[in-house]
Symmetry: C2
Subunit: 200 residues, 2 copies
């Protein structure tokens, strides 16, 4: 049975989405053109009408993740004005996002994407660091307005913030969902507050 003809842009989205889901399920290594094609409902070779190569697909996946990740931060900025509530809201958002989108840690932390692709590795580095920079900025503003201790190093705080999310994501992955990421975030938050907030 022949697949329905669909315009390239729509197919591209389907393909990226399918890739994202497959990566979330089995990791970057298990991602194959055949697998994507099957999920989309076309034949493997048809995929090449919409992407030049598998690498192209991976680049697109990475780009999508980048925008989703950073969008979260900017949305939080608009939502709340103060540093601590911003961070808390961001934490909960990210954790929820990871719950729904298992692919993200796979893509960002698996070497499968950048073996033999220094440019892509650099891109991952850029994504992470620009994410951290935004957090750092929130922390700096918190120091300015006195809600965050002066002796907190913004860089360190941003990495520790990531430290509430990342190990949890990996634990969830490795234990097949046997780790409650959201509960962890809720427990970790007050502790994190103690470690950066000024004593009241």
């Amino acid at each position: 049975m022949r697949a329905q003809k669909i315009e390239t842009e729509a197919r591209q989205e389907q393909i990226i989405e399918a890739a994202l889901e497959l990566i979330g399920a089995d990791g970057v290594n298990a991602l194959s053109i055949a697998g994507i094609a099957e999920r989309v409902g076309i034949v493997p070779s048809a995929l090449y009408r919409h992407f030049k190569s598998k690498d192209d697909v991976l680049d697109a996946v990475l780009e999508l993740i980048r925008t989703r990740l950073l969008a979260n931060v900017t949305q939080v900025r608009e939502e709340t004005p103060d540093a601590l509530p911003r961070l808390k809201s961001l934490l909960m958002r990210q954790v929820r996002m990871l719950s729904e989108n298992r692919a993200i840690p796979h893509v960002v932390f698996s070497d499968g994407i950048y073996t033999g692709h220094p440019e892509r590795k650099a891109k991952v580095a850029t994504i992470i660091t620009s994410y951290l920079c935004k957090i750092q900025k929130i922390v700096e503003e918190g120091i300015q307005d006195g809600s965050i201790r002066r002796d907190v190093v913004p860089t360190t705080a941003s990495v520790m913030f990531l430290g509430m999310i990342l190990p949890a994501a990996i634990l969830r992955n490795v234990s097949e969902g046997g780790f409650d990421v959201i509960a962890h975030a809720q427990n970790a938050w007050p502790a994190f507050v103690r470690c950066i907030a000024t004593n009241t």
Copy 2:
């Protein structure tokens, strides 16, 4: 030129060591029998005299990492009696270990090892959780003797402890060493203390 003949046990160690280094450099995906063989100085097929399969090599690598990782914890237990100094010492040890041994995060957090190998994934899960359990125990003892706050959830604390190390390791990997893991640990430690220690 023919390679020197060496007894299996010694070769096995060489092979595991080579695998570890290759993984550290380029990740699990880039690991090939040919690569290992070249590094060891034998021909690819010779490797099969010492290991049944590539999977066997990976299992051995994983086992080595497991022992190294857990050995660190038990050594720290012998070294110092109190919870907080123990944790600090453990932190610095782990960070130093990661600096010297780039393969560890690759092996533990890359999906390359467990795609299609549920048993191995389970083993990774076991390694991480048993590591966390040991930390948890230290925390619990700290709560007992009053050096750690009563309202700290031991599980959460252990995951956050990992959160000082893990993101740092990944940042270092991704940025090609452009991130000072040891400096980060030194900055993060006092903050972590604030978040779990009783106020003095």
